[in-house]
């Protein structure tokens, strides 16, 4: 044993004190006695603590309270968090771990929460947080001097905006700093005065609000839209504008978006991930995907880059960007060949006959020496004159008889359809194909888009078996058309057909290989596996899809090709199967309560809900920069409906036909029309129709550059419009705001300009009088706003959050009160309503407002255009008839002075007209009674005796109480209503929870799982995972489509015009051809590449891109990802500064050079705010822009269709998408010296 010779001398003695404290301490302190004063009974000892500071540090892990909240950030995670508060300061946040279990045979949802959520509390005390109300200096100066001159604030505002010099003074300095703090009351008076003035002078529809994604904070969303709905303002949709709206969903399902919760991935045995990066954008849910692999699930990834989800793939199909439709068509070709033609799969066969339109008959129309598909055969076509017959579709039975089955649109709203709107076929056995029952076979011409001189492509000849009707018309089934479309050869049919899978003609695996780059063998393998798995598991094959395949101009077509695979394999409406479309936090589970409160449906109807893309396309004047027209896209098989029409002409036409909304609506103030009708001695609808017909009244969208038609006041809250979602950002800058921009696109040449929409020169700049941003961060939107109002964060308010990813409802709760001068969105709008009401008393009073509402989905308006035919009153074909051939004209009485009182009370229409969702309505008596008791009744004013909505928790309570998902009474009421219409048993879906009501207090305690409700199409009954359309499949409840089934075939005139009646492949728009070579210096190292803007790993959607924690995980500033080959061509090394430019604008950023990227494509993850390390551009001499500087929207006319079955307008349901993925950019290396000012 080794011993230390020095230390061993004292071995036997213990050290004097532990750690060898000096003897001095022993000498100076008592060793045996403790200081202290005992109480007389010696039960307590009182000591003076001399080490209070130490105790303070020991207590650092003790918290005063732990508060449950979540993050309202359009993050589909919607995770519950614990927020730790010590001494009034937020010090910490950790994941909540008290989610209800999913049951014994499934992984649980926990743990939830990711680094993005964990870094949120940074915002609360960030030095760059917006803490005070700000007004730009020059505007405040103008305002104060105007107020000194005018006692009346409205007159003061008028004196500023009607003076060109004065208004230019504050508009031109937007985005140039110069904010000053101003007191709340003063700022709100200014904003309110602008509202009152605008409503009075131009009409309330010139007052506009933009706030996206209600699900992420429903009370905060509702606060603003409720105010706007009460005054008649315009509320912009966002889902379509974000291009997250899958237009194929309304087209195929008649539903906006309904998808499985992430727990249902566990039930899938074959998972294709196609355009959504699950581990990155669904971080807290991705574990279900990895866990399911242990259960034997196969994962196939289709993605152009080696992305974070690709590494989980068993099979990776790297299809070229935008060609996904070609791959899916080829897979469909394989499935139809092997699982339909070569043999019959009983499960598939009975599924498609019951739940899809495949057995329905379609008429054919002669076209040249062949035929083309025309319209669904309806009962009216075969001599049935009864109610609804023009919307009852017809099928062929196995014994060759025509049969009108239940469940089509004709049964949905008619008296005789009561109890018959269902998918029961009884003893009828439909024939899938006419083959075998056919009279003859005819040649059929079908559009193809992979080749051809224009975007409209060319024609391919196939053939179908047909039956001849008594009147000589030829009909065939949708199935036969689909077989022809996919090119599946069957004996005895004329036309050109591929011989086998190796024949490179549409739509074989070999054909797609040349387009997508995916080997034919891989496409065949995955198609077979997908279908075979579905056959064996009865539909448990799933496709997760998202922005990667949904942000394209022709995304609706891409998605239809995906959905066809799902439908052919019987996967939809089955747990573990079907489509799983994931984009934003789109699902407001308590839908009825939310929509009732948010759009003030309890006080007046209808609200002015506008399609966001149409609004911005018009009002940022992006329509003035088109290089081709709507007819460029038309199929040669069309009827020339759009010949010579600009896109904006299509928009104007759809607006005047009532198909799509149009706010601002007329070139006259909507508050004056009712009085004018009275003066003319006519009813308001009659008067409006007459004035339109005689050309004395015009739609604002026909002359958007007329100052009378400008949107004047825009309020943005919970959103970063200019920094994140503003596609065509530089056009926003130029036309809406009137500031400097980097767009260099030339305006449309004279010969391509619109014919119905007036062109004015020069184009206006600075249309907006007032832009208000409400936020807690100084976003790009705030930096360009005239007024910035400081919002409370998500740890400082009461609110509700839900998501499509899980079935739980979450609460937000204030951990601390809003600090500094910040206020909740709820309080801000309430105070704005107060200020508005005060000024409105004198200036507006009680007025009748004429609202022109579009023909609405899920209402009898869907019956307006039988057979989907376009007829236009403008051309004199018939009269403009409100609600049939033009928008509905409705009069809403508004007591403007009572706006703030109405904000604070639940209005009477919930009892008289009831509430409802998706075509059914009911009177929620129990909920109203409950709210009166829970929230208390209002005393005095317009809301006398009504349940109070004065506080944010009252609103939260109302949202929960009025919705079926959170109130069992309401759910049962809704199901009973639906039973009356369908005649099938539904009530039992909610019966197990009929007495249950989830209150706000409940969700403060724990996240609560929702109740099965007719607001949605899936079922949670018995604790099962949510999968959409389960109710449709299991209970035979129809889809909200024309046929009542999921539809492969669409027969509207405009759809035919674009050659899209059947699923097809349309390649990305050919921008190089349309816009030419955009290089500025081709010989100095510039390349043109495809430009994609996917969702970032370090942020979700608009938020977090200024979060330093997240920025530090990568390079901090904006970057573009590119392949080594592309980088080499322009001499770029990793991290070099580059510029990306095109006709729309310029981006300056660093390059990320990585092998993960395919050649010819670059990524710029969105969305980085413009103030984060964005240097000056060498090209524009102005600051580089955000990712949206390089984009400009082009609307797709088929998204404007309305008034026809599922192709009818509803807010965020149907409308043009703000797609941006077809864009190309030019890249170059720039000087590595950058300057920021």
């Amino acid at each position: 044993m080794a011993t230390d010779p020095q230390g061993s001398r004292h071995d036997l003695l213990a050290p004097l004190l532990p750690h060898g404290e000096p003897i001095e301490k022993l000498l100076r302190s008592a060793q045996f006695l403790l200081p202290g004063t005992p109480t007389p009974d010696y039960r307590e000892l009182h000591r003076r603590d001399t080490r209070a500071a130490e105790r303070f540090y020991r207590d650092r892990w003790h918290h005063d309270k732990v508060v449950r909240s979540t993050h309202g950030v359009n993050c589909t995670g919607s995770c519950s968090w614990k927020v730790y508060v010590k001494d009034g300061i937020i010090t910490w946040e950790t994941q909540q771990t008290d989610y209800p279990s999913t049951g014994p045979d499934l992984p649980d949802y926990e743990p939830r929460g990711c680094p993005r959520g964990a870094s949120f509390s940074w915002y609360t005390y960030s030095p760059s947080r917006v803490r005070y109300p700000y007004v730009r200096g020059p505007l405040l100066e103008l305002w104060r001097s105007a107020r000194a001159e005018h006692a009346d604030p409205v007159a003061a505002w008028q004196s500023i905006v009607e003076d060109e010099e004065k208004s230019a003074r504050y508009k031109k300095v937007r985005g140039r700093g110069g904010f000053v703090r101003a007191p709340w009351d003063e700022v709100l008076e200014l904003v309110a005065a602008a509202h009152v003035y605008t409503a009075k002078k131009y009409g309330p529809d010139r007052i506009v609000g933009f706030s996206p994604i209600p699900a992420m904070s429903q009370v905060s969303y509702a606060a603003g839209t409720r105010f706007l709905s009460l005054i008649g303002g315009t509320i912009l949709s966002f889902y379509d504008w974000y291009a997250d709206m899958p237009i194929a969903s309304p087209q195929v399902f008649g539903d906006q978006t309904d998808v499985p919760e992430s727990g249902d991935w566990w039930n899938a045995s074959y998972l294709v991930i196609w355009g959504t990066n699950l581990p990155i954008t669904r971080t807290p849910d991705a574990h279900f995907m990895t866990e399911a692999r242990y259960r034997g699930q196969k994962v196939v990834v289709v993605s152009p880059d080696y992305s974070d989800h690709t590494k989980f793939a068993d099979d990776w199909l790297p299809a070229a960007p935008g060609t996904d439709g070609a791959l899916a068509m080829a897979m469909g070709h394989v499935i139809l060949t092997e699982f339909y033609r070569d043999r019959t799969v009983p499960y598939f066969d009975s599924y498609v006959k019951t739940y899809t339109d495949l057995p329905f008959l379609v008429t054919l129309r002669q076209h040249g020496d062949a035929y083309v598909p025309d319209k669904f055969l309806t009962a009216a076509d075969i001599g049935d004159e009864s109610e609804g017959s023009r919307h009852k579709t017809v099928l062929l039975t196995r014994d060759g008889a025509l049969h009108v089955p239940n469940g089509s649109l004709g049964f949905r709203f008619s008296e005789s359809g009561k109890g018959r709107w269902n998918l029961e076929l009884g003893d009828v056995e439909p024939a899938l194909t006419v083959l075998g029952l056919h009279d003859r076979a005819v040649a059929l011409d079908l559009p193809r888009f992979d080749v051809g001189p224009s975007e409209g492509g060319s024609v391919i000849r196939r053939g179908v078996p047909v039956r001849e009707l008594a009147d000589g018309r030829l009909v065939t089934t949708v199935f036969d058309l689909v077989m022809a479309q996919y090119g599946v050869r069957r004996e005895g049919l004329p036309g050109e057909w591929p011989d086998d899978f190796d024949d490179p003609s549409p739509y074989t695996p070999a054909w797609q290989e040349a387009i997508t780059g995916v080997p034919a063998a891989a496409a065949i393998r995955v198609a077979r596996e997908f279908a075979r798995n579905a056959e064996l598991s009865r539909g448990r094959s799933m496709i997760c899809m998202g922005a990667g395949t949904n942000h394209w101009y022709h995304s609706d077509q891409i998605y239809r090709t995906f959905l066809s695979l799902i439908m052919l394999c019987g996967c939809q409406g089955v747990n573990g199967g079907g489509w799983a479309h994931y984009v934003g936090q789109e699902k407001v589970r308590p839908l009825t309560g939310w929509s009732t409160i948010a759009f003030a449906l309890d006080w007046n109807r209808p609200p002015r809900q506008m399609a966001g893309t149409s609004f911005f396309y018009l009002n940022t004047d992006q329509w003035r920069y088109e290089r081709f027209r709507a007819d460029e896209l038309a199929s040669p098989l069309g009827n020339g409906l759009h010949r010579g029409k600009a896109f904006v002409d299509c928009l104007a036409q759809a607006a005047r036909l009532g198909w799509t909304p149009s706010f601002p609506t007329f070139d006259r103030n909507s508050l004056e029309l009712a009085d004018a009708a009275d003066a003319a001695g006519m009813s308001v609808p009659e008067y409006v129709a007459r004035e339109l017909r005689e050309g004395r009244l015009h739609f604002a969208c026909e002359d958007p550059d007329d100052p009378r038609n400008f949107p004047r006041v825009l309020t943005v809250w919970r959103a970063n419009l200019l920094g994140s979602s503003g596609k065509g950002m530089e056009y926003f800058m130029r036309h809406l705001l009137g500031v400097e921009d980097a767009a260099r696109a030339e305006e449309t040449p004279a010969e391509l300009r619109p014919s119905d929409v007036r062109w004015r020169d020069p184009a206006p700049r600075g249309k907006l009088d007032l832009l208000t941003a409400i936020d807690f961060r100084m976003t790009s939107t705030c930096t360009y706003a005239d007024v910035v109002l400081p919002a409370a964060t998500w740890y400082e308010k009461h609110d509700i959050s839900t998501t499509d990813m899980h079935p739980f409802v979450h609460s937000f709760n204030p951990a601390i009160p809003p600090p500094w001068e910040t206020k909740t969105d709820f309080e801000i709008f309430q105070r704005l309503a107060d200020a508005f009401s005060r000024l409105a008393r004198e200036h507006l009073g009680v007025r009748r407002d004429v609202v022109a509402a579009p023909l609405a989905h899920d209402t009898p308006d869907e019956l307006a255009c039988p057979n989907g035919r376009q007829t236009d009153w403008r051309s004199g074909e018939h009269e403009p008839i409100p609600g049939i051939t033009m928008p509905k004209i409705m009069v809403v009485e508004r007591d403007y002075a009572a706006t703030s009182e109405k904000m604070r009370a639940l209005g009477p229409l919930v009892e008289s007209l009831g509430t409802g969702a998706k075509g059914i309505s009911w009177i929620p008596r129990q909920a109203i009674d409950y709210l009166g008791r829970a929230n208390g009744l209002v005393r005095g004013g317009a809301g006398e005796g009504r349940p109070s909505l004065a506080r944010d928790v009252h609103v939260a309570e109302a949202i929960l109480a009025l919705s079926g998902t959170t109130n069992g009474h309401v759910a049962v009421q809704g199901w009973e209503k639906l039973e009356e219409r369908t005649g099938v048993r539904l009530r039992d879906l909610a019966a197990e929870r009929a007495e249950e009501q989830i209150s706000f207090a409940d969700i403060q305690v724990q996240p609560r799982a929702v109740i099965t409700s007719p607001e949605w199409s899936g079922a949670e009954t018995g604790g099962r995972r949510y999968s959409p359309f389960v109710v449709n499949v299991e209970r035979k409840k129809p889809w909200h489509t024309l046929t009542g089934r999921m539809q492969f075939f669409l027969d509207h005139d405009w759809i035919h015009e674009y050659g899209e009646s059947l699923p097809t492949f349309r390649p990305p728009l050919d921008y190089p051809r349309h816009f030419g070579d955009q290089r500025l210096a081709p010989d100095q190292g510039e390349i043109t590449v495809r430009y994609l803007t996917p969702h970032s790993k370090w942020s979700i959607h608009s938020e977090y891109q200024d979060n330093l924690h997240m920025l530090r995980l990568f390079r901090g500033g904006p970057v573009i990802w590119m392949s080594p080959a592309d980088a080499a061509r322009i001499g770029v090394s990793d991290n070099d500064w580059i510029e990306a430019h095109n006709r729309n604008g310029v981006v300056v950023c660093r390059a990320v050079v990585t092998h993960r990227m395919p050649e010819g494509t670059v990524f710029m993850y969105h969305a980085k705010d413009r103030h984060l390390m964005t240097p000056r551009s060498e090209i524009s001499g102005w600051h580089g822009g955000s990712d949206n500087s390089l984009t400009r929207i082009i609307i797709k006319p088929t998204h404007l269709i309305g008034g026809y079955a599922q192709l009818s307008y509803a807010f965020n349901y149907y409308g043009p998408t703000g797609n941006q993925r077809d864009e190309i950019v030019v890249l170059r290396r720039r000087s590595q010296e950058v300057v920021y000012r």
Binding site: D87, A118, S128, G137, L1108, L1111, R1112, R1115, T1174, Y1236
Partner: protein
């Protein structure tokens, strides 16, 4: 008399007021401030105050407000919240803020809830009321130096107020000077919890090569 009411108005109080947002009252009272500033003993402080007041006197109040927002409201590197300089966005900052609160309490003051306890004007007011406040300022000498540097870099009249403040405190010690330089060069520390290396060290860049984000958006 309330213990927070003072017979004499010292330089800390003046600095505290002048570093808050310029309200009308402040802008209108330049003469009164001047009178009080003249009475300040220490020359560096007196001159700093007078320099600032001269600018305040000749500048339209609206411009003063715009300038203040530009200087202090939205820039991390010029924030008036002292803990930010040392703790940045790390989770230590919350505790550091509470330490200020605790210090006020132990000296017998209750901080108002409208502001964060590390707000420089609050600390200055504390220094005016209690010698413990001067100690607190001394303990944050480095932070004040960084703020002072950032203000000088944009040539704002507010730099004079920081100069005046530093004039009331001892010069930086050598370790403080080193620390100030380190923070200036590297920015506030970054959060490292949860960011442990996940690969062998030879695959990781050394900390000195790692990309750094300078304070603010500009390098």
């Amino acid at each position: 008399m309330d213990s927070t009411e003072r017979r004499t108005i010292g330089p800390f109080k003046l600095l505290s007021l002048l570093l808050t947002y310029p309200t009308q009252e402040i802008c209108r009272s330049v003469d009164r401030f001047r009178e009080l500033a003249h009475a300040v003993d220490r020359r560096r402080t007196r001159e700093g105050l007078l320099t600032f007041l001269q600018w305040l006197d000749v500048t339209p109040p609206n411009d003063v407000g715009q300038h203040y927002v530009h200087v202090f409201d939205l820039e991390r590197r010029r924030t008036l919240y002292l803990t930010y300089y040392r703790y940045g966005d790390t989770r230590k900052r919350g505790m550091a803020i509470i330490t200020f609160k605790e210090t006020y309490r132990r000296a017998g003051f209750i901080p108002r809830e409208e502001e964060l306890p590390d707000y420089l004007p609050m600390v200055l007011e504390f220094a005016d009321l209690s010698p413990k406040g001067v100690s607190l300022l001394k303990a944050h000498r480095v932070e004040l130096e960084l703020l002072h540097d950032s203000l000088r870099a944009i040539d704002t009249p507010y730099a004079a107020l920081l100069d005046a403040t530093c004039g009331l405190l001892p010069e930086l010690s050598r370790p403080e000077r080193l620390q100030a330089r380190r923070l200036r060069d590297a920015g506030p520390p970054i959060e490292e919890v949860g960011l442990e290396p996940f690969a062998p060290p030879e695959y990781l860049v050394s900390p000195s090569d790692a990309p750094r984000i300078p304070l603010g958006s500009k390098p």
